[in-house]
């Protein structure tokens, strides 16, 4: 059975991002998506720490400590980019001006609930960062993550077991096995499956009912 690599997952998401969108990419696989958007397709990347128009990582000798992304890695700025303060930056997020946010997650439920910040109700010092603001504020929230945990438990579930980041927020999930929409009132609707995997096999790795449009 084949499965998408991290790079292939990032590239698959990048396919679906049209020119002109303002996009915030979370840490991990989401960050890699930028590498698969061709420079001539103008997608404007937003970073929570006050940047619009982020470009790729600089050559090491050209990195400046003043220009870092939300993951605190050196980045560049494209012509047309701009800087602003944190309240303005999150005003863009909370105000619904970001067309798309792509985050990783521990779990996504069939109603669109997302859990991606705390691994236990008892973890009293979890790091939330901007995840709740992004999940609640972006026009669209997509999740990119492995279909199951390392020990094989489903990450697409009926109800999240981990503490929620936001309620009914996710619209689409890209996993290493499939592309799945979250449709209000229906739940998980499968759009694509990696070659060689059957719907039945995918269902076996999923914690909630999978629907199809067929």
């Amino acid at each position: 059975m084949s499965s998408f690599t991290r790079q292939q997952m990032a590239a698959r998401v990048a396919q679906d991002i049209p020119e002109g969108w303002f996009v915030n990419l979370g840490i991990g696989i989401p960050t890699m998506i930028a590498d698969y958007v061709p420079m001539e397709r103008e997608v404007i990347l937003h970073s929570e720490n006050g940047i619009l128009g982020m470009g790729p990582a600089p050559a090491p000798e050209q990195a400046t400590p003043w220009l870092i992304n939300a993951g605190k890695q050196p980045v560049t700025l494209r012509p047309g980019g701009s800087f602003f303060h944190h309240a303005d930056s999150f005003g863009m997020i909370r105000g619904g001006h970001i067309d798309l946010c792509v985050l990783g997650a521990f779990e996504v439920a069939e109603n669109g609930d997302i859990a991606n910040w705390a691994t236990s109700e008892n973890d009293s010092a979890p790091a939330v960062g901007g995840a709740m603001d992004l999940a609640a504020g972006a026009k669209r929230l997509w999740v990119v993550m492995d279909h199951t945990t390392k020990d094989g438990r489903p990450k697409l579930v009926e109800t999240c077991g981990y503490p929620l980041t936001a309620h009914c927020a996710v619209q689409r999930i890209y996993t290493n096995l499939a592309v799945i929409d979250v449709v209000r009132g229906r739940g998980f609707v499968v759009r694509e499956i990696v070659p060689g995997l059957s719907l039945t096999e995918l269902q076996a790795k999923t914690g909630a009912t999978l629907h199809t449009d067929a």
């Binding site: 404007i44 619009l52 047309g80 800087f83 863009m92 909370r94 504020g137």
Partner: protein, 226 residues
């Protein structure tokens, strides 16, 4: 290639519907998008709610739009000013609704709309007749009133510089309400004195990032504006 620059005022204003809430930038003549307002008169949309600091003066611009019967309601801080005769006539005749909002609350309600804050508390107006019908609540031993965000369908703003991504700068006190209105509307249209190449506006000094701007039209005004 993203290109928000359109070639005519008609194109800049296309699609504005009857019944829209239109935010109009400017304080006095500074930063007032005169050409877009004239364009809106041509464009034809009616039954409008207009949000602006004043309620028009003379018989041009907003006053003319009102005189044509195209404005259902005005939301402003200072309706009566030198030359606001059109407003006064229509208002007295019961042909215009009016909502008076303190100037800072007006700005903050639009900033809130742009920033995804549906409501906030302010001490401004507490205990006055403008608090009537509003929730009052005490914070730090002092009465405050709850104000709701004020989103627009359309914002018309005037900028000094713009580029094809819609980044804007303003000049001196021409900034005023324009940045908060640009944030607060679904469709934000800017008239700009200068069109710059992408990257020529210093990234540290962009006043309104292009994320808040839908369309830009180049309007060169004569002296003393240039």
């Amino acid at each position: 290639m993203i290109n928000k620059i359109v070639q005519s005022i008609a194109e800049a204003l296309s699609g504005i519907k009857d019944g829209s809430t239109v935010l109009m930038g400017g304080f006095g003549a500074a930063g007032q998008p005169d050409d877009l307002i004239e364009g809106l008169i041509e464009q034809g949309a009616k039954d409008l709610t207009v949000v602006a600091n004043n309620a028009g003066a003379g018989r041009v611009g907003l006053a003319k739009l009102m005189e044509m019967g195209r404005v259902r309601k005005i939301i402003c801080s200072f309706p009566r000013s030198a030359g606001s005769t059109v407003f006064e006539e229509l208002y007295r005749a019961g042909k215009l609704e009016l909502e008076i909002v303190p100037q800072g609350t007006l700005a903050e309600r639009m900033r809130a709309a742009g920033a995804g804050i549906p409501a906030f508390y302010t001490p401004t107006g507490a205990g006055t007749k403008l608090a009537q019908g509003k929730e009052t609540r005490e914070f730090n031993g002092r009465p405050h009133i709850m104000e709701l965000s004020l989103p627009g369908d359309v914002a018309l703003v005037e900028a000094w510089e713009a580029d094809r991504w819609g980044n804007l700068t303003y000049r001196q006190s021409g900034r005023n309400f324009n940045p908060v209105m640009a944030m607060a509307a679904k469709l934000t249209v800017a008239q700009a004195h200068h069109i710059r190449e992408l990257g020529d506006i210093a990234p540290d000094n962009v006043h309104t990032p292009g994320i808040f701007v839908s369309r830009v039209v180049h309007v060169v005004r004569g002296a003393p504006w240039n």
